[in-house]
């Protein structure tokens, strides 16, 4: 086990990637480390029909065509923009793609309101400039510029959070594929090597904050990642991520499948309720994404492990669910209260099982918060 809290995908799956690279005989575009088919196999996992000696686990859960379209976009000369609600796995997909294609998913620019053009292009090591003057040595390249020089994939998280002028700096990078450094007299252009491309992510809830210019839109292919509503694949995702978490914390804890069902069902109910609500007051502030579900389960696991009886209970799960979804008081609490009394209570009467404990825990948590 590495001593990193969270290893990037290329480190975590290094051995698997090495093996895939060794058996990969498909044509590889540019300087890609894997062929497109292998990239897809790495992300979506292998099947018996693939005829491989070992099993490759599925790492991202969603429609196959999204992955295919993303890979194909990176092989063309356009950037890839993954757009979707928070918690739909955009960044995770971006990381997996970068790891599989160029074995480096860490060349990331995080888009914020404070992101400047320097973060995208380059900046200067001031003391070095004073000592030695402006040169390539005293220049600090941005992650994007590093990606250009290496011919690998650069990532731009939350593109729509940064301001329009910063976004527009990407236009020339994506179309001309070079960055000029006017401060230098010689060696003043950095050309992108083949294989360079950008994966950006954008939050569809932020639409309208800093709209992309149409020139930039044109240089990106949009792949919209929807919220997972398929219960089966959602269960798969939650199980996958929870196992990872348990491994990371060395926690010996069993997540009973019935409890997982309770969690999935309650999220499905709340989503349906949000879908039929007419105003924001009647809707939970949370997007109720899969990531949120994982967060709830993580919380409950950690809580049960360190403060509880080392067993995950329905009460703990309910408490964690209420705790993470009740953000606004009284609106969110009122919705949860209504849900608990209108849906969970009859269900516990009908089905019993874990729902009984879930009902009790939720009630207590709501009472404590209100």
């Amino acid at each position: 086990m590495s001593d990193m809290l969270r290893a990037p995908a290329e480190t975590k799956y290094a051995e698997e990637l090495d093996w895939l690279e060794s058996i990969d005989d498909g044509p590889k575009p540019f300087s890609w480390r894997l062929s497109p088919k292998m990239v897809r196999l790495f992300i979506l996992g292998s099947e018996r029909a693939d005829g491989l000696d070992r099993e490759v686990s599925q790492k991202w859960f969603g429609d196959r065509s999204f992955v295919e379209r993303s890979i194909v976009t990176l092989a063309s000369d356009r950037g890839l923009l993954l757009i979707g609600d928070p918690g739909t796995g955009k960044s995770w997909l971006a990381e997996l793609l970068a790891a599989a294609i160029s074995r480096n998913s860490t060349l990331v620019v995080q888009g914020t309101a404070g992101t400047t053009e320097d973060h995208i292009k380059y900046s200067w090591n001031v003391s070095m400039v004073i000592a030695k003057g402006q040169s390539r040595a005293s220049m600090i390249p941005s992650p994007i510029m590093t990606a250009m020089e290496g011919g690998v994939i650069g990532r731009f998280e939350e593109l729509t959070r940064s301001t329009s002028d910063v976004q527009d700096a990407l236009i020339s990078i994506l179309s001309e594929k070079y960055v000029s450094i006017p401060e230098l007299d010689t060696d003043n252009i950095v050309f992108a090597k083949p294989g360079f491309s950008i994966i950006a992510t954008a939050n569809s809830r932020d639409r309208g904050v800093n709209d992309l210019s149409s020139a930039l839109k044109r240089r990106f292919n949009f792949v919209r990642i929807p919220v997972v509503t398929n219960k089966k694949s959602e269960a798969e995702i939650v199980r996958f991520r929870t196992e990872e978490l348990l491994r990371r914390h060395d926690i010996e804890l069993e997540v009973p499948p019935t409890l997982l069902d309770v969690l999935l069902q309650s999220f499905a109910d709340l989503r349906a309720a949000a879908g039929s609500a007419t105003s924001d007051e009647e809707r939970l502030e949370s997007a109720l994404s899969t990531a949120e579900q994982i967060g709830v389960l993580e919380d409950a696991i950690l809580h049960s492990n360190f403060f509880g009886a080392s067993a995950l209970t329905a009460e703990a799960l309910a408490g964690s669910l209420v705790g993470s979804l009740a953000r606004r008081s009284p609106e969110d609490l009122a919705i949860l209260n209504k849900y608990w009394h209108g849906v969970v209570e009859p269900r516990s009467r009908e089905h019993g099982g874990e729902w009984g404990g879930f009902l009790e825990g939720g009630r207590q948590a709501i009472a404590t918060l209100s």
């Binding site: 897809r40 194909v72 044109r218 949009f222």
Partner: protein, 934 residues
């Protein structure tokens, strides 16, 4: 036994053995498939397996027909649809053959109407066969599948129709039948195939694994592969389902019919071709086979249901929706068909006169080449990768350019760069999905990736645009000659409007009936259509049709082009619109749940739409019958409203009331009199209903009495009524007032008592409600109602008044037509009209003078003048009337001329005199008439 497939059988069994972990049934299935193929090919009557909406099938069919030139074609299609096929010449495909039964006999009543449709598209094998058979002399086409009647006989008990209809609803809620339904029979298998084929829909899987490899295949390969696939699905289908049993019965049915035909016609089996779905081609039922002596299937008779047949328009999207295909798949199949024709140079068959845009290709008969021994073509298909066409660059480039153009037109910021990107992406996607050539599905994905951004600017997104580009939805049309008489009649009669009614857009018709009286007939027809098809086809924008109205101008939105089906289905009910309407009216009046109100409505509709006194008379008689049989008075308000309207209409247009109307009134008078006492007491009967009964009795009274009814019946009925609820009590008082039993002063005193008694005050609003309901039966009580309303508002305490207000308002709102005009008119007369007037205003009921001699004097004074003078001069007549009425006459003598009233009268007299002197002609004529001499 050695055969051409032995080697393959061995090979597959070997494979099954090596997959040791597989299910035990595997060897059996694999070997069985090969056996099925072998068996089907050994059949002397050539079996041609097809799949629906498969261009490869159509192509193979066209080739085979040219090559073999069969004399008899057996087709898997309901046998009773045969006469319809020639009508296909008049239509633009896709259309659907329809069998329709509105009245069922032998099926559960609630399942009516029954409807079966079989859509026919151009890119289908069955159309090729039909066109060949109908266009080539000497070829017989025999439909062998069970009749539409059997479709329902064999169906598990069909429940009543579900009201939900999909958006793309060209087929209505008909049951669809299709040739060559080939699809995995259980969800897991389909899911498995899709998953491993890395495709999203069944249509895509089919396209990639069967359609493309078979597109250029020769006849033998095609036939063997299709039978094998049919056999695979058959062997993997759940065996104990009703569906499989039905399918097997159909196979027995079809083979029995084929053998019957062969025996009857003596046709050579080598000259015949049997076209059926691949699923049926792999049939192993005992009754299958053309050999004489094969056991026959006992074909049950049809039910007595009478079926009607016709063609209705269909569309690609309607077919997709009905048969659960992926959106766009039928369109893509049509595009593929066109392309394959171009590429392979195969000449398709087409019906002469078909409106398809393409010229009919003359069939160029080639000598039939007898196929020799059967050889194994399956091994190649199963073992090798499919032999695909090379990348059809030209076509893909065309698509890319077109989609960008289309996207731009729909608001996308797409450019040539996007076209290039779409091209590149399609190729890359196809490569990644293991296809050498991008399929339309790859192209669609690529276009979405490259062009779709975060918002859809227009009405259509890129996915939809791609569907449009790849052929779009094509909607068929049934030609004029193939329409039922009713639909043709409708088109003929709307001809004077001068609109193109076949167009699939909404057409606005302006009817200036004053300037162009010939359009009155059109208007009448449109109103009838509106009545028969309320939600569809025609919609009035301006104009209405009510009794007593004569339209001057009307404007209509006509959408007949898109609602051809509904008009055609109307054609199953009768020959003309009038006939259908008459049937509907009759049905509504004679249905078991009909009431007098519904019958009166039918009467009214018959007057509005049909000029048929006989029908109206019959419906009216039915209304009388229903009224007499009714035991409740729930519908009294509706009855009253309608009979009033009808009587007003008859009085205005006819010299005398029709007989049924008179009977209705006398019958109603007696009927309501009888029911009145119970209605007053019954808790279930509302105040409104009782009010309407009284309204009927009082407003029809004079007519009823003149027709021989007896007033005492009503008086006794009222006297027998002893209601308890305050509202009905108030109504009873109003009725007694109307009958002269309760003077207004008493009524007023009673109400004042109520208001003065603190124990009764909470119930006062209910009394007032009763009086409000009395406005209708006793309109002359209106001033009194205004009075008590004013008193109630003035004196009731808020806790009593406020809770009652909403219900009062709701009552007034729901019965606005009857109550509000009377009330507002009376209130307007009572209350001052100006703000200043209010200060000096005292309500009339408070300023009432003492009931002494006052009223009599006042009554005479305004009557002064010449009339009073005349009466005073000749008092005999007035005295006699007074004696008759039993009141002692008392004469006030004409005032002397100094009295101001007389002065005024005198002044008036002078003016009249002056006028008459100036224009003596009128007086002269009147004098001449009465025979007086001036």
């Amino acid at each position: 036994m050695s055969g051409p497939f032995d080697a393959l059988r061995e090979q597959l069994l070997g494979a099954a053995e090596s997959l040791a972990g597989g299910p035990d049934a595997l060897p059996e299935i694999l070997a069985g498939m090969v056996d099925d193929v072998d068996h089907a090919l050994r059949e002397p009557l050539e079996i041609f397996p097809v799949c629906h909406h498969s261009p490869a099938s159509a192509l193979a069919m066209a080739r085979r027909l040219r090559q073999k030139q069969p004399k008899v074609i057996y087709l898997e299609l309901c046998e009773d649809l045969t006469p319809l096929l020639t009508e296909l010449r008049n239509c633009r495909l896709p259309v659907a053959l329809q069998a329709f039964a509105s009245e069922v006999d032998g099926f559960p009543k609630e399942s009516a109407p029954l409807s079966v449709i079989a859509p026919i598209t151009e890119a289908s094998a069955e159309y090729q066969a039909i066109a060949y058979a109908l266009e080539t002399p000497g070829v017989e086409l025999v439909l062998v599948d069970r009749s539409t009647d059997h479709v329902f006989q064999w169906q598990p008990a069909a429940g009543p129709h579900v009201g939900e209809e999909p958006e793309e609803d060209l087929h209505g809620d008909a049951v669809g039948v299709e040739i060559g339904d080939l699809r995995p029979r259980f969800a897991e298998l389909e899911e498995h195939l899709l998953h491993h084929g890395r495709v999203r829909h069944w249509s895509e899987w089919w396209e990639q694994y069967v359609e493309q490899p078979l597109a250029g295949a020769d006849h033998e390969t095609y036939r063997q592969v299709m039978v094998m696939i049919g056999s695979l699905f058959r062997r993997l289908a759940p065996h104990d389902t009703r569906r499989l049993a039905t399918d097997e019965d159909r196979e027995r049915y079809m083979w029995t019919r084929i053998r019957e035909h062969l025996a009857a016609s003596g046709a050579d089996r080598a000259d015949c071709l049997y076209i059926c779905g691949a699923f049926h081609a792999a049939s192993r039922v005992a009754e299958a086979g053309s050999a004489p002596g094969t056991p026959d299937f006992e074909i049950t008779g049809r039910t007595a249901t009478q079926w009607l047949y016709g063609l209705i328009p269909s569309s690609h999207s309607a077919i997709e929706a009905q048969f659960g295909l992926a959106p766009g798949s039928v369109s893509i199949a049509a595009a593929t068909w066109q392309k394959s024709l171009l590429r392979t140079g195969v000449k398709p068959f087409a019906l002469a006169g078909q409106k398809s845009g393409r010229k009919k290709k003359a069939p160029a008969p080639t000598p039939a080449i007898g196929t020799g021994a059967v050889t194994d073509q399956l091994s190649g298909y199963l073992a090798g990768p499919p032999a695909l066409d090379g990348l059809d660059e030209e076509e893909l480039r065309g698509w890319c350019v077109d989609i960008v153009r289309l996207a731009r037109r729909n608001g996308y910021l797409a450019s040539t760069a996007d076209a290039i990107a779409v091209f590149e992406t399609s190729v890359l996607l196809a490569g990644m999905r293991g296809r050498r050539r991008p399929t339309p599905y790859d192209f669609q994905d690529a276009a979405i990736t490259c062009i779709e951004k975060e918002v859809v600017p227009g009405r259509r997104d890129v996915r939809r645009l791609c569907e449009i580009l790849l052929g779009g939805d094509r909607i068929g049309q049934v030609g004029y000659d193939a329409l039922p008489p009713l639909a043709r009649d409708v088109y003929d009669r709307l001809e004077p409007l001068g609109l193109n009614l076949t167009q699939r857009t909404i057409q606005r018709a302006l009817l200036d009936l004053a300037a162009r009286p010939e359009l009155v007939a059109c208007s009448r027809l449109l109103w009838m259509l509106r009545y028969l098809l309320p939600d569809h086809a025609v919609r009035p924008i301006m104009g209405s049709r009510r009794l007593g109205e004569k339209p001057i101008q009307e404007s209509w939105d006509l959408d007949l082009g898109r609602h051809q089906r509904t008009i055609i289905e109307l054609g199953y009910e009768g020959v003309t619109v009038e006939q259908v309407l008459e049937q509907r009216l009759r049905r509504s009046a004679w249905e078991p749940k009909a009431t007098a109100a519904t019958a009166l409505k039918a009467v009214e509709d018959s007057l509005l739409f049909l000029n048929s006194p006989r029908l109206t008379e019959e419906l009216g008689a039915r209304a009388v019958e229903l009224l007499a049989a009714e035991r409740t008075v729930d519908e009294a308000p509706a009855v009253l409203r309608r009979i009033r309207r009808l009587m007003a209409h008859y009085r205005a247009t006819e010299p005398a009331l029709p007989a049924w109307c008179e009977r209705f009134v006398t019958e109603g008078y007696a009927h309501y009199c009888t029911l009145l006492p119970t209605a007053f007491v019954d808790d279930e009967t509302g105040v409104r209903q009782v009010g309407a009964m009284l309204g009927f009795l009082f407003s029809m009274e004079s007519l009823a009495l003149s027709l021989g009814c007896d007033r005492t019946q009503l008086e006794i009925a009222v006297r027998q009524s002893h209601p308890e609820p305050p509202a009905k009590l108030a109504l009873l008082w109003a009725a007694r007032h109307q009958l002269g039993d309760l003077p207004l002063s008493d009524l007023r005193a009673r109400v004042d008592d109520l208001l003065g008694n603190p124990l009764v005050v909470p119930a006062v609003p209910q009394y007032v409600s009763g009086f409000v309901q009395a406005l209708e039966p006793v309109p002359r009580l209106a001033p009194f109602v205004v009075e008590i309303l004013s008193k109630a508002f003035g004196s009731l305490p808020d806790p009593v008044l406020l809770p009652w207000l909403p219900s009062l308002i709701m009552t007034l709102r729901t019965q606005a037509a009857e109550l509000v005009p009377v009330l507002t008119k009376e209130a307007g007369r009572t209350f001052p009209g100006t703000l200043a007037g209010i200060d000096s205003w005292t309500p009339p009921w408070e300023s009432r003078p003492a009931p002494s001699a006052g009223p009599a004097v006042r009554a005479v004074r305004p009557g002064g003048g010449p009339a009073a003078a005349l009466l005073a001069a000749h008092p005999q007549a007035a005295d006699a009337a007074a004696v008759l009425l039993g009141c002692p006459g008392e004469w006030t003598h004409p005032a002397d001329p100094s009295d101001e009233g007389a002065a005024a009268a005198d002044g008036g007299g002078a003016a009249v005199r002056a006028l008459l002197t100036a224009y003596p002609e009128t007086t002269g004529v009147v004098a001449g008439l009465v025979g007086a001499v001036v």
